[in-house]
């Protein structure tokens, strides 16, 4: 549902599980497309032997499945962030979008800006430098982390 937002941010989404591409097709056709009213817009990848999941450290040998690992990868192919959850708890896609926006801001500023706790687009960033050492309390208040 949020795929257009990722597209607007110039990001691609890939999903991955140990299911075959045939099962992916059936899941799309018989359940997910009914849930969202259209086909799944991104590529549903298959990692049948778990080798990709192992490379990322999220493969569960005991049950032969992949845990909910979510990785944000930058245009250079570097991992900027990840989150791993056990199966019963779903992710918060909005938080992934917020983190992506924050990483993009930092990258576009070429490291001159940083996003403090609770940052989202439109909120204050910090510009790390000698003058800011020991002075964050003067320019940024804790309440800002919790205000929308």
């Amino acid at each position: 549902m949020k795929y257009p937002e990722f597209q607007n941010l110039g990001a691609e989404v890939l999903s991955m599980s140990v299911d075959s591409v045939f099962v992916h097709k059936m899941w799309n056709d018989h359940e997910l497309s009914k849930m969202i009213g259209k086909n799944v817009p991104f590529a549903m990848c298959s990692d049948q032997d778990g080798s990709i999941g192992k490379a990322y450290g999220i493969y569960d040998e005991d049950s032969g499945i992949e845990t909910r690992g979510r990785f944000i990868i930058d245009p250079d192919g570097n991992i900027q962030g990840f989150e791993v959850l056990t199966p019963p708890v779903g992710r918060n896609v909005k938080e992934s979008i917020r983190q992506l926006q924050a990483f993009q801001l930092v990258r576009n500023s070429e490291g001159t800006e940083a996003t403090p706790s609770g940052w989202k687009p439109g909120k204050q960033t910090l510009k790390p430098g000698p003058d800011l050492v020991g002075n964050v309390w003067k320019v940024w208040k804790v309440d800002q982390a919790f205000n929308d």
């Binding site: 691609e12 991955m16 591409v21 899941w27 590529a43 999220i58 845990t67 991992i79 962030g81």
Partner: protein
């Protein structure tokens, strides 16, 4: 665009990564205990079969170089969350 493939009766063969195909038995034991990847470091590249836009295709992470990628693993199709 990703390369399309025609599905046959066999499951698509797995495109193993170099690091794993070259592994000896001893190495495989080590692979199984591979630690978590690190932030700020290169994401392991892969090529995987995928269902995408009503087709079966092969997709590599490296073909998305120059774009941001959100890679989401999940336990299984037709599970509940």
């Amino acid at each position: 665009m990703p390369e399309e493939f025609k599905p046959g009766c066999q499951r698509p063969s797995i495109k193993k990564m170099n690091i794993e195909t070259n592994a000896s038995t001893q190495m495989e034991a080590k692979e199984a205990r591979k630690p978590m990847v690190k932030v700020g470091k290169q994401a392991p590249d892969f090529t995987a079969s995928a269902f995408y836009q009503d087709k079966f295709v092969n997709i590599s992470l490296s073909e998305h170089k120059g774009k941001w990628v959100l890679l989401c693993f999940y336990p299984g199709d037709f599970t509940f969350v």
